[in-house]
Symmetry: C2
Subunit: 220 residues, 2 copies
DNA sequence: GATTTTCCAAGCCGATCGGTCTAATAAATC
DNA sequence: GATTTATTAGACCGATCGGCTTGGAAAATC
């Protein structure tokens, strides 16, 4: 019925939309500084004005690009999920490394990322998840979906390790990936609280020892 | 120099302080409802007025008992830590049960506690820890100290299990208790996000399998 | 140059924030 | 009853909250 948006419109009339992929465009800048601030302080504790001041963007622009603070938060989740998916791909798809080494590489990268910010920034998804009781309901499904996505990618990596013989056959890699992300988020939370990497190291070491336990037990 | 407070003052002049141990006293009621609300929504997202309305206490009383919202938050942490320490004692000191069973009992109790509130309430300490970036600095040390206390109590229980032969000798129970609380808080966070107990179950099962792995591995 | 649309800029709104203040009331001693 | 202290009660304050509004500048088409 209504005129469908064709793949390539013949032309638009007025001023064309700014290329928002440019990293210095206001929208992209808002998302970047938004992630930086919210990974540190969460959603409820941060006012729109603080983000505006930090990104040096006037209020009019904010409500031009995002309909509300809630809409902005949802866009932040998407941006963070996309950023993190690229990061996971980079490590988990590195054919040069043994599968289990890829997991170690990711862990080391995440650890140094937290160190770089003085252990003040955590994980956006974990942060917002903890705040869920005070957040608009649409956040819940998106956050849960992001975790599922990360676990899927991790499970693939673990299955590759299993195929390589680095993880005992009987283990269910989906459950193991689930276990990893449950605990890893706890470790990130704790590292942020203590401003120290200890929790990351303790969990990572325990997890890796766990999946190789059968190799470390008494040999037959 | 100054008149020291003797063990038993001869008498006070005016109206004596109300017995605040009475569970219906305003101060106790504020702490109770404060824990209930903050375990669900956190600190920053909750206004003093909301707590006042829910506890049915006027603002004057609040600022009579607590100097500020921050002071109230610190008192909440102490109250919650005391409540939780009693809970841990109840389970971990139950001489009727095998040490490892005591840990299982605690886990089951915590799980049913979350279920009772529809998985809407998490752990106050974990919640505030995640918010730390937006919280007054004094919160940090208290929260970290609470975790250390819980881990100490847990480690004692694990050592008892080790003495009973239910955990392999070589394992360091302090590290293991640390690992447990890092991951358990992650599981609580996740269960709250998903409003399901799955994360609690996955982590608990994984953890328990982990400490008994050597018994499950190939026998010599 | 007129028109159309995008984007920038900021003043302003009502609501809510944490916190203060004053007055009244209650419960004890003197 | 006078005094002293504890507690209740809520109006009120300036600041900040998320969000709306209006106006104009910029960039394209016609």
């Amino acid at each position: 019925m209504s005129s469908e948006a064709s793949v390539s419109e013949p032309r638009r009339r007025g001023r064309p939309p700014r290329d928002q992929s440019h990293p210095n465009a206001p929208r992209a800048r808002l998302l970047r500084t938004g992630v930086a601030i919210l990974t540190e302080k969460g959603f409820s504790a941060v006012g729109v004005d603080e983000i505006l001041a930090s990104a040096d963007v006037p209020k009019g622009s904010f409500y031009h690009y995002f309909g509300s603070k809630e809409a902005f938060g949802l866009a932040l989740i998407d941006a963070y999920a996309a950023y993190f998916a690229r990061k996971l791909n980079r490590w988990f798809d590195d054919a040069e490394r043994a599968p289990l080494e890829r997991l170690r590489d990711f862990i080391a990268d995440a650890r140094s990322g937290m160190a770089r910010h003085g252990y003040r920034r955590g994980c956006l998804v974990g942060n917002l998840g903890q705040e869920m009781g005070a957040l608009p309901e649409p956040f819940r499904m998106r956050l849960a979906a992001v975790f599922r996505d990360w676990e899927m990618r991790t499970s693939r990596c673990l299955r590759a390790a299993q195929a390589a013989g680095d993880i005992p056959k009987g283990i269910d890699c989906d459950s193991l990936a689930h276990f990893f992300w449950i605990g890893w988020e706890g470790a990130v939370l704790r590292a942020k609280l203590e401003r120290r990497p200890d929790a990351l190291d303790v969990f990572a070491r325990g997890f890796l020892a766990m999946i190789q336990a059968n190799d470390m037990g008494p040999r037959r």
